[in-house]
Symmetry: C2
Subunit: 341 residues, 2 copies
């Protein structure tokens, strides 16, 4: 059974998940680069529904049964979950150390039956469909009061951590607010204390007036290469409307616009960098049940957004040791290339 | 010219270093795995001294001249420096953003003329020799009051970020205390406030009494797989004697003991994992000139140490998005394998 352990100096939590060491390619002693799962043996392809754990949700033809073909988007628990709702949530001390049982959830959202079409090749309708499913699943997970945070993320390509190449997203729900997210929340709160404005709204203003880091803008979303980009061609996609959560009705109305935006940006990224591997993740507000001790001004100070980074550079000792990043491509140059004009 | 940029939400600094995009393999659109620089074209090999910037220090036969053969350890500025002492240190605002010129230092310490011998194959004398040089160079950099921190690190192998396979260390000196280091310093300080003890000394006690995460112990050093290991087979090497800096006279006396310790641990790591790629780094106290605003209790609360991690797993979207790590190998199991008994 997995467990969470807390670093006594940094307060950083680590998931010790021994089950995952049996995952294909999870633990490569030498990195390897067979990039594509063979569709004939892909557990996410049509007709292979029995090779995954039972589906928890699907968008499917009403005449078909769960765990059979007929679906458009399909959600299954991760076969090698980092965290699991079956564990009872328990916390205890061990000498100077703290631990917690590996309570949480870990789901896979299979974007479409098509093994080869990444978002850039999908229809706006298909993208909108899995965006709606992501909203729904996160909303469901956040009903549990033991869950503090739910992160939606995408790993595309082996170097980016995907063990299966069939297009999919993952959601991990955790019983603590992760350190990196907490830092962002606290940073936004501190900025608000000082200025009584949302730092992300201010960043959007700055980027629109400066212009040179903008990648794309449509009706409801803006994407740009952030001023302090950690990675070459890092892109943030930010909704123009201030809002702190992704799984809301008002965001739902803008999903076709987000789908078009993502398709455009991912297509440009692929054109400029030759189909790179990448990660992206959706940063949202944590769960806010009163007994958690509220983030008082969070409705005003935080702003959900997507952070996307192609995996081009290698993160080495200096970066791990300092939290400093060395980025050889200025974001102004990256944005110019990505805009294509 | 490089510059430092600060993330307005997280306070994380990023080095935008366009010069480094011309570094061989610095910016790989597809990862590649030609692992070894050809010795005939290696700028760190004997007889190729003119292919590096002029040496700033060397351990060499007194009858030989700088930048010629005859050396045992050789220090040169990085040819593609992330930071450079030639830049004047300047800070300014840019709209909502903060920047700083790319002032600092970036040196390469070539461990020996031998292209193939990593520390595990070197003599204790050779290892002691480059450890002394590392001490010396860090001591030199820290004399500059504009330098806040100097990080010693080692990248072994392409996946770990080494662009040249000839054994070498790097030192980067920065005009700010890096975020990750500051968090560790603050964590140690907070622990001291509560308990009036050094958290690292307490961890050493705990590890020695528990025993199962210990990898090796000799006269002056203990290594163990930390309780909340981020990575499989992560190892910390910690001096038994409390001390906050690496470049001191008292550490100098223990260098042969550290050399033997490192040789043993790196040999075991290689035996167990089949010569893996790895990073390690030496965490020490920051520069402490009075005008920086001291860390008041730092002499008591901090403890220098080495953090080492083989590069076996892939850091994916979840880790980047949360600061959470998923480690499939419990440190107790890793330590058992590394102890070999």
């Amino acid at each position: 059974m997995g467990e969470l352990r807390k670093d006594p100096v940094l307060g950083r939590w680590v998931i010790i998940a021994q089950e995952r060491s049996s995952r294909p390619g999870a633990f490569v002693r030498k990195p390897h680069h067979e990039d594509k799962t063979d569709p004939a043996r892909c557990p996410f392809c049509l007709g292979h529904e029995s090779e995954t754990p039972h589906e928890v949700f699907s968008v499917r033809d009403k005449r078909t049964k769960p765990n059979t073909p007929g679906w458009g988007v399909r959600v299954v628990p991760n076969k090698f979950p980092a965290l699991d709702e079956k564990h009872r949530l328990m916390k205890k001390g061990r000498g100077v150390y703290d631990m917690m049982t590996g309570f949480g959830a870990h789901e896979v959202v299979i974007e479409s039956p098509n093994h080869h079409h990444e978002a850039k090749d999908q229809t706006i309708g298909q993208i909108t469909s899995w965006l709606e499913v992501l909203q729904l699943r996160v909303g469901e997970m956040k009903k549990n009061e033991k869950i503090r945070y739910a992160l939606i993320f995408k790993n595309k390509g082996r170097t980016a951590g995907a063990s299966i190449s069939h297009p999919h997203h993952q959601i991990i729900a955790t019983p603590v607010t992760p350190k990196r997210v907490r830092e962002e929340l606290v940073g936004a709160m501190d900025y608000f204390k000082l200025k009584e404005r949302c730092v992300f709204c201010d960043i959007l203003d700055e980027e629109r007036s400066y212009g040179q880091r903008i990648v794309y803008e449509n009706e409801d979303y803006i994407s740009f290469c952030p001023y302090a980009s950690r990675f070459p061609y890092e892109i943030w996609i930010v909704p123009k409307a201030h809002g702190i959560d992704f799984h809301t009705q008002s965001v739902k109305k803008s999903l076709p616009s987000l789908a078009g935006h993502m398709k455009h940006v991912l297509k440009r990224l692929s054109d400029v960098l030759g189909d790179p591997e990448y990660n992206y993740l959706i940063h949202v507000a944590p769960n806010r049940f009163p007994r958690f001790g509220y983030w008082k001004t969070i409705e005003d100070d935080y702003h959900w957004h997507i952070e996307l980074f192609p995996r081009l550079t290698i993160v080495a000792g200096f970066e791990w040791g300092t939290g400093f990043y060395i980025n050889p491509i200025p974001p102004e140059q990256a944005a110019r290339e990505l805009r294509g004009k």
